[in-house]
């Protein structure tokens, strides 16, 4: 049994950790979630349908993430773990020299700021490449609900004002470079 358990850990740990990391954006919390998930797997080993192990693990991870998000909320007024990154992003944006990392960092912050289940579905589908069927099982939603939530989640992501601002800055930066190009030669 231990060998099978070890095999399950090896097979799923990166996906669980990754999901938790993009959902919470705090490495330590993501590690806690990963540990919780695999402890629960050990505890419920004999009750689980092992053919649906991946879905079961993601569902446990999803529930655990929701618990952590609830715990994080009151603390965020005092300790914002992303403040540094976002401040840097804003500064670079003002200077008009935003790099790709800054955009991705802002993108991750925007994903994290989505409400559930939009956040979980965007992460599962677009970052982790899970199929609609897998997401359905994990979140206990219908296929059409998954699709609607995914599209709505993406739209909410695009509505993020900071992200849009960064994109428009990049565009204008590029067009300025284009305009300056011929005259500079």
């Amino acid at each position: 049994m231990r060998a099978l358990y070890q095999q399950a850990i090896d097979q799923h740990r990166h996906r669980i950790f990754s999901f938790a990391h993009y959902s919470l954006r705090i490495k330590e919390d993501a590690e806690d979630v990963t540990q919780e998930v695999f402890i629960k797997l050990w505890q419920h080993w004999q009750k689980i349908d092992h053919e649906k192990l991946g879905g079961w693990l993601m569902r446990v991870a999803h529930n655990s993430v929701i618990d952590h998000v609830r715990k994080q909320r009151p603390q965020q007024a005092n300790v914002d773990h992303y403040a540094d990154v976002e401040e840097q992003v804003a500064q670079e944006s003002e200077e008009g020299s935003l790099d790709e990392d800054g955009f991705k960092s802002q993108l991750q912050a925007a994903i994290k700021s989505l409400e559930d289940p939009f956040r979980s579905i965007v992460i599962m589908r677009d970052i982790q490449g899970m199929s609609y069927e897998e997401i359905q099982v994990c979140l206990e939603l219908s296929a059409s609900q998954v699709k609607v939530y995914l599209h709505r989640g993406r739209r909410k992501l695009r509505e993020n004002t900071q992200l849009r601002q960064l994109f428009e800055n990049q565009l204008s930066e590029k067009s300025e470079v284009k305009q300056a190009g011929p005259s500079g030669q």
Binding site: M1, R2, Y5, Q6, I9, R13, H14, R15, I16, F17, S18, H21, Y22, A30, E31, T34, Q35, F38, I39, W42, Q43, H44, W45, Q46, K47, F103, K104, L107, Q108, I111, V122, D126, I127, Q128, L150, H151, R154, R155, L157, R158, L163, R164, F167
Partner: protein, 214 residues
């Protein structure tokens, strides 16, 4: 059944319609004909073209986000746990006795949950009431005549106070269960029993029964 969406005629609605289809286009969910309509509109409309470019940029950036790696050290405690020969029966919780009792109580219907303890308390109260009112010279076989001298009026008064508290508690319990166990089944029999006992004991004139909730 697939819904057939018809492109609206005015420009504003067309833009709205096209922008709703952006995700469908990016996911490859649109039919060939829908793709054609979508692309021809995007090529002619700068607003929709900009929106589409933005959506595509975001989508590409999200798809490019890497899968995070979970360090081995994160799972070390898990390995230690499983190595400690912990059986899967760990799933059977070793909770404290109090929470197990509470769980058991929660699993039974409310009327039983409150009614059973209430009835138990009532029985105890009736037994106490009967014992403390042992009348002098009573012919009742349950009342021991030699025990009369063992209780002073203060003892009886204190016992009655305690009984009043118990009855008050039972009243509150019966209200919570929302069933008629209070007046009909608990309080009246106790009251009758106590009154009868005190009558037999001949000490009714100077006892504090009148002050309580009975």
């Amino acid at each position: 059944m697939t819904k057939v969406k018809v492109m609206p005629s005015n420009t504003e609605s067309q833009c709205y319609f096209i922008q709703l289809q952006i995700d469908g286009y990016l996911d490859g969910d649109l039919s060939e004909a829908q793709c054609g309509v979508f692309m021809s509109h995007v090529q002619d409309c700068s607003g929709c073209a900009s929106e589409f470019r933005y959506a595509q940029t975001i989508q590409d950036a999200v798809l490019e986000l890497p899968q995070m790696s979970c360090a081995d050290s994160v799972l070390e405690p898990i390995h230690r746990l499983s190595a400690a020969e912990m059986q899967p029966a760990v799933g059977v919780r070793s909770e404290p006795l109090s929470s197990q009792i509470w769980e058991l109580l929660n699993s039974v219907p409310a009327y039983f949950r409150y009614g059973f303890p209430a009835a138990a308390v009532a029985v105890v109260a009736m037994v106490i009431g009967t014992n403390i009112t042992s009348p002098v010279g009573s012919v009742e076989p349950l009342v021991a005549s030699e025990s009369v001298e063992q209780y002073s009026p203060e003892d009886i008064s204190q016992a009655l106070d305690e009984l009043n508290v118990a009855i008050d508690y039972l009243n509150r319990l019966s209200q919570r269960t929302e069933v008629m166990i209070g007046d009909r089944f608990l309080v009246s029999p106790i009251q009758d029993s106590i009154n009868a006992s005190f009558q037999k004991a001949g000490i009714r004139e100077n006892n504090p029964l009148d002050n309580g909730p009975i």
